[in-house]
Symmetry: C2
Subunit: 381 residues, 2 copies
């Protein structure tokens, strides 16, 4: 777009230079006469010519800077958002904290923004995608584990009874996660995740999971970064499950991903140093764990935080409980046609207390159905 | 330096423009005659004048770009390093991994460099500066703790017997650290650290502690960042003890500091969300904890790591145990006059196994006495 605009912007300049079609010819005659009579004028013209390249380059640079500034000022940074209150609140906040002289000005280094992942940056129904990854992996590993045929939750799972497998609640889920997520190096787990994310398909949409990220949120991430924000993921999901693909999909590098984790152990095997993922919880980055994770990993309080469920309540409270301009935003899943509609009664991504808090505190609530023109990137025109 | 060079570089240009002192006067006469006779020439001169600003700006931009490129190519990025093997190895490594087309080229996102702090970026004798902070704080808090007069290690400490206080070993040190580092919010601890670091003086040099950082290492940090590296601290020291001042002193923001930590708890007090620092170890980022901390916080293996003691051995092993160009460097404290000389027999910053490993593996060893022109920034000319 920039190069294109630049090319267009040259036209008026060229037209101006040749506004009188006869001018170049007339100037040519005048010059030839003058130079014959005034050798010093000839030197002047030679000087002018030798400077032409510098002049042209200088002009091109100036115009390109102007065009870029204008494009930034005029282009809609959030084109997939309808022109609604949530969008206006986001833009008003960003413009307020970046404007020098504003009473709410925040230096770039302190522009920390934290984003939940499941249900905020990508979808999370009919269950967290990481759990779908774990279930896929149980099926893949089953041939090496004949004992699973008689052990729950694996037995139900291998019979196709996911509901039965998960009926064991958190202990059952914990067993599934540990056998599928640990006992290998982080690098090996990276590769396992990358293979799955590149090929696995969502059970109802048939899409790749990374195609079920929210286009309006991708724009929001880019908009905040363009305004000097450092964007972090702060998710209840596994940190090593997200890191292999967040840079490509969200533009968020591994070191800016905060999440739940298992313990890792350093060991030497045949004189080769290894890290090994252990079947033991290290940290749960959910609910009251989110402010703790933010402090531990980032070391400063965000000035903007984005979530969608009660798991994000404490992060939003923590973010807004400080002086200065603060933005707290909740993505409310209201679109049963294009995505899913759920809140207070959902077991996945329950939004109940945080919805009450949003109303009481005046946090921004995004109504997905009405606020977003598109949900997924593929719907973008 | 850049502005200065830019100003100098203008002089030849100005001299060129006025190389003949009479030229402007002569050109003026020629112009006035010519313009009276040739109105179109007048238009030409007006056009030339209107373009002068663009021309000058374009020229300034071009020259400044040229000067910057030349300055980068020619200036010594490590002026406080003697022209020795360690300096050459650093520069050869950096130039190798940043050169497109090099078999060892590393994209900027993967240029992760980790630096130990105590003994690598700043001094650590006669004891870790964080321990001196803790001792200062015990003295400050003593009036509120009359019971300390009869409790070790506090009793000895308050009598001025530091050696006696620390004779209790790690449990004694642990008690001192916990009473001085916990029971407050991270923000309150931030302020405590900032007050101390701004005023406390080193017991033998009388300097502020932040004046005891190593000038050659500051240059190294800046050099690596200028070449696209992301620089992290990975220290056995307390993460919250470093974060308040690392950005100002080292240019390393809080979110790029990895260190040891106590547990933190989220709680609501009178409807205000707080984090509280608890007297319980969360993570020890030393020895085999360093690769674990790197994986946990950064999520990728460094391609360059810098340390000075056996506490850094595993980080250096972990960094170098992967394909591609890798840089492992050890700062060897060899200068008893300008700093301290110690290695295999020191209880603080012991360098024994890691020195053997450096010799066996061909890691870079910096001989502080011979490799560094200056130690502290104040010695810089």
């Amino acid at each position: 777009m920039c190069l294109h605009s630049l090319a267009d912007s040259h036209k008026p300049q060229r037209d101006f230079l040749s506004s009188d079609r006869h001018a170049p010819f007339m100037i040519g005659i005048a010059k030839s006469i003058a130079m014959r009579e005034f050798p010093l004028l000839k030197a002047l013209v030679v000087f002018r010519r030798s400077c032409r390249l510098a002049f042209v380059l200088g002009t091109v640079i100036l115009i390109s800077v102007q065009v870029q500034v204008q494009a930034q000022a005029q282009a809609d940074p959030l084109p997939s958002w309808n022109d609604v209150a949530s969008k206006k609140a986001i833009i008003a906040f960003v413009e307020d904290v970046i404007r020098e002289g504003s009473p709410h000005f925040v230096p770039p280094d302190e522009r920390i923004a934290t984003f939940d992942n499941d249900g905020t940056l990508w979808a999370e129904q009919p269950m967290y995608f990481q759990l779908l990854f774990a279930l896929d992996r149980v099926r893949l590993l089953a041939p090496h584990h004949p004992e699973w045929k008689s052990q729950e939750p694996f037995a139900s799972l291998l019979k196709g009874d996911v509901k039965g497998a998960l009926a064991g609640g958190e202990p059952a889920i914990g067993r599934i996660v540990m056998v599928t997520h640990t006992g290998m190096t982080p690098e090996a787990f990276d590769q396992i995740v990358l293979r799955w994310i590149a090929s696995a398909r969502h059970p109802t949409t048939g899409r790749l999971y990374t195609d079920m990220v929210y286009q309006p949120m991708l724009e929001l991430l880019a908009y905040m970064r363009a305004n000097g924000f450092k964007t972090f993921i702060v998710s209840g999901g596994g940190i090593e499950f997200m890191r292999p693909w967040t840079e490509r999909v969200y533009g968020i590098p591994p070191e800016q991903v905060v999440g739940s984790s298992v313990k890792t152990k350093f060991e030497m095997q045949d004189k080769i140093p290894l890290l090994m993922r252990l079947p033991e919880i290290n940290f749960i980055d959910d609910k009251s764990g989110k402010p703790v994770g933010i402090q531990q990993y980032i070391g400063r309080r965000p000035i903007a935080a984005f979530g969608n469920s009660d798991g994000d309540l404490e992060m939003l409270q923590w973010t807004t409980a400080a002086k200065g301009a603060r933005l707290a935003l909740i993505v409310h899943h209201t679109d049963a046609v294009r995505e899913w509609a759920y809140d207070r009664n959902s077991s996945i991504g329950r939004l109940d207390k945080a919805l009450d808090a949003a109303q009481a505190e005046g946090w921004v609530v995004v109504d997905m159905k009405n606020d977003w023109k598109v949900i997924y990137p593929s719907e973008k025109q």
